[in-house]
């Protein structure tokens, strides 16, 4: 696999012919570090940006499932490279090393203070530049992140890169020249297929990530880890003319408090019926 530095229509041009005499496959997995959903997550009330100090940070669970999918493919196709790409503060290196221990081949980590509070458009721009630079046949993302709750960065990247996308897949089959999957929407279940290079995103229906063994943790220390700044990627953030989405107000909702608790001694069902009727809820 050769590195590619062209952004427009990146990926491997005329890939399927090339692939006939070159069996390798380069899979990029997009891992996002998010505040642990098991803790109380905080927003900075001035900026509206996540308060990173308030919670533990970890790789989003659904992105780990994306990584597991890539590694499972690599298990049975030895010529596969699994490149982990992230845009996150430098502190996310701990989470990314874990991805290497689990089986990733290398990491490309875009860290730049100017990216704090980046909107989805800028995030997609930066990640697109990073994956185009790394080169790829298949990009795998999570469907929706648990902090941004956006679910748009992958499709934005596909548009930028000029490649097909198949998002929200709850089952995936990767082939040397195409990818197939089951895409669940509110209206039904689609079966979709895309020629490579392509981008897919997966749901939490996919298998959980495996554990990193001792051997993996040792091996991770020697794996390539590339840190990039915006200048390395040639992405400009302070472009005054760019349309960005910005936070204009943030307010914290008062926490809920507990109400009446009864221990059932044989009549709790009746008491609940009373409660619902008194409060005009039935």
């Amino acid at each position: 696999m050769v590195n590619q530095s062209v952004l427009a229509g990146a990926g491997r041009h005329g890939g399927s012919i090339y692939r006939q005499w070159c069996g390798d496959m380069k899979i990029v997995v997009l891992l996002k570090e998010v505040p642990d959903t098991y803790g109380d997550r905080k927003l900075d009330l001035d900026s509206g940006i996540a308060d990173r100090a308030a919670s533990d940070a970890l790789t989003d669970e659904v992105d780990e499932r994306a990584l597991e999918l890539a590694i499972t493919y690599a298990d049975s196709h030895s010529d596969t490279e699994v490149v982990v790409v992230t845009m996150a503060p430098a502190s996310a290196a701990v989470s990314m090393r874990k991805a290497l221990a689990i089986g990733g081949t290398s990491v490309v980590h875009v860290a730049d203070d100017r990216l704090a509070g980046a909107d989805t458009g800028l995030t997609a721009e930066v990640l697109s530049a990073a994956v185009a630079r790394a080169g790829y046949d298949l990009i795998i993302a999570g469907n929706v992140s648990t902090d941004g709750y956006g679910g748009v960065v992958p499709a934005m990247m596909a548009e930028r890169l000029g490649i097909p996308q198949a998002t929200n897949l709850e089952a995936v089959q990767i082939y040397p020249d195409h990818v197939e999957g089951k895409r669940a929407t509110e209206t039904g279940l689609y079966t979709v297929s895309a020629p490579l290079p392509a981008l897919i995103s997966v749901t939490e229906k996919l298998p959980e990530v495996r554990f990193a063994g001792f051997k993996g943790i040792m091996a991770a220390k020697k794996k390539p880890y590339e840190s990039l700044s915006l200048d390395d990627l040639g992405v400009v953030v302070d472009d005054e003319t760019a349309a960005r989405s910005i936070v204009v107000a943030v307010a914290e909702r008062p926490a809920r408090t507990a109400g009446v608790i009864v221990v059932d001694e044989g009549t709790a069902g009746e008491q609940l019926a009373d409660f619902l009727i008194q409060n005009r809820l039935v």
């Binding site: 989805t120 956006g150 548009e159 279940l189 979709v192 349309a243 914290e252 019926a273």
Partner: protein, 325 residues
Amino acid sequence: MSQNPILVFVETTPDGTVAKSAAGLLGAAAAIGEPTALIVTAPGLSAAAASAVAQLGAMRVLTVEDLRLTDTFIAPLVDALAAAFENVEPDAVLLSNSVDGRDLAARFAVRAGLALAVDAVALSRDEEGVVASHSVYGGAYNVDSAVTSGAFVVTVRQGAIDARAEAQEPVVESLTVAPSNTPAATITDFEPLISNATRPDLRGAAKVVSGGRGLQSAEKFVLVEELADSLGAAVGASRAAVDAGYVPQSYQVGQTGVSVSPQLYIALGISGAIQHRAGMQTAKTIVAINKDADAPIFQIADFGIVGDVFSVVPQLISSLESRKA
């Protein structure tokens, strides 16, 4: 030319039926400008959809019929939306925050060079333009967002908007679209979701009854459905109940499932993990039944019962039945 046009992308199913989200989107659009709707269907299906959309408040309806729709994923929709955007020159473009709506919004925003905000629960205007309001971190924060320049592309949470627009006389124009020929995925099969016609949709329902792992099996989960039907409520579930196969994924309430804000939420055999609470804690009234007095769901319940769902719920149902009679 209309004043402050707002472009609404209305989703349709492959057979041309207008999605339920259309009414709320047009309601939201009417509050901030003059709604123009875009519908994209397979050939021959747009006329019926267009009049349905006018009924829901679209002052103008642009239609595109595209043969590619049946087998080409998302690309025909992006092409159509880009063409409609040029035609309408709106202040904002509203789409449903559905799986398809998000994909389309994302691709379109990049193609048109516009800023995007997702999962809005309300829209308004200030002196500078359109403002989208969001409920963040499971309703713990309210955040307003706006754009630095250009039209705002916004996906709107399904079921979040109660406002409805006034019905309009259909003003329908068919729009010509030049296909962009961007590489696209192919749709090879589609199985429509059979929705329970007698039960309300989870999204936007006034009452929701949800069941968790405490229900023990798919067979016993029927108890949740019985209570829901006696209250006229929608049925939801925890992720553990979905993972255990009691109900399909589309029932999941929470962080990675559906977010609901009903008048009444009843949690049966659900511990109330933080990720579940993230999808329901903005409900007006919360009721919980759980046999563990320490279950976190009780911290946010207005009425909590420490007890066994298999004895409390049947008693509740029969008590409600007898008082109805």
